[in-house]
Amino acid sequence: MDNTLNPEIKQKAIENLILLILGSVDKEMSQLHLQKEVFLLWNFHPLIKKYIGFIKHFRGPFSREIQESIFSPLYLENDWEYNNPSKNDEYSGGHIRLTKKGKEDYSKLINSIRENSKETKDPDLLQLLSGIKLVRMLYDKLSSEELLLLIYYTYPEYIQKSEVFNQINSDRIRIFTKLLKEGVIDKDRFDDLLSTEVFL
């Protein structure tokens, strides 16, 4: 993360990123999915690394900047609303969805990015938009447990401070078998996951 950046610019960028992700698919998103999908985008696009940091946390890779901006946005106030998780929901961290104002702001932002990119011929932000579409297409369909477990097995260094890894990992055979049966992972990845040993 670039700490020399103007805090105002940085905050606007983070809130715009959240807006772009939430607006990319017209349905609510769990806080856990948002955090993990931003993490994958953070690894993909050099721009995001300038604004956001990730730490090892109770539920895998976690960005404080994202969490604070979800609950206390400074510039995009009332663009999204948060709903608490239900009683039996241990992992999602609640759900976020765009409001009517948020959807309008999303349309304005996306149009301005596209117009600007067309004029400058710079693909940088378009690459980000494409990456956002991709992660939402691939990962939204996973449950919180499935997403967390795949992230833990892909980035085992983020298990270190986990409060939930042992609990989810004890159910890994059922979870990975379900992912295989549903065609989310192929047989090679299934065998690979089962033969991998990761520890807290």
Binding site: L40, L41, N43, F44, H45, P46, R114, S117, K118, K121, P123, D124, L126, Q127, L129, S130, G131, K133, L134, V135, L138, Y139, L150, I151, Y153, T154, G183, V184, I185, D186, D188, R189, D191, D192, T196
Partner: protein, 202 residues
């Protein structure tokens, strides 16, 4: 709208290494707008010594986007170490397909030869399936569909590949142009037959 072709490294090495005929490669990359990413750029630089000639005809996304990391949770450990440009090619193709029109780009072909990569596209990127071809299928479409090369030229390339594959099938070694006995029988020979039978093949 510029029609683009994105490929993994196997397409380029088929001509430059396996057939040892860079002239064919340079001819083909002049016919379409080829786009490569940073990973493939690095890889190709190592085996195309006269790279200036190559890179003047190929567009390069000169940004460090790590497409690989977007799909990493679905890849096996072996695949994770295969930074051979295959997943970068898929990522670039997805980008062109979803946002390329803003930059005046339209995806024409995604060329991948290895079945692992092709299966990956079919499973996770249904949007790209209609654009997916292998090197042999690309030569076929280049000739019969797009009329960019004559049947005579297409057949001369395919006969060269056929000869190399036959030597490989007899003596072993490295698979030329990612071909094996199955793709030889089920893809190469039937495509040669189709082009030989085309009315334009006088």
């Amino acid at each position: 709208m510029i029609e683009c072709v994105v490929s993994d490294s196997s397409f380029f090495s088929c001509f430059s290494k396996d057939l040892n005929n860079k002239d064919i490669l340079y001819h083909i990359i002049n016919l379409y707008q080829f786009i490569i990413g940073t990973e493939l750029h690095r890889e190709i630089s190592t085996h195309l010594s006269d790279e200036d000639k190559f890179f003047t005809n190929v567009s390069h996304f000169d940004y460090e986007y790590d497409y690989h990391s977007l799909i990493l949770p679905f890849l096996t450990r072996n695949q994770k170490h295969l930074k051979d440009g295959e997943y970068e090619a898929i990522g670039i193709s997805y980008f062109i397909k979803t946002e390329g029109d803003i930059l005046g780009l339209k995806l024409k072909y995604l060329i991948i030869d290895e079945s692992k990569g092709r299966n990956f596209v079919s499973k996770y990127f249904p949007l790209l399936v209609d654009n997916l071809v292998g090197t042999i299928g690309f030569i076929r479409d280049c000739c019969l569909k797009d009329k960019k090369i004559s049947c005579k030229s297409a057949l001369s390339i395919l006969y060269c590949i056929k000869k190399k594959v036959e030597i490989y099938l007899e003596k072993g070694g490295k698979r030329p142009c990612s071909m094996d006995s199955k793709s030889y029988a089920e893809i190469l020979l039937p495509i040669i037959k189709i082009i030989e039978g085309d009315p334009e093949n006088g």
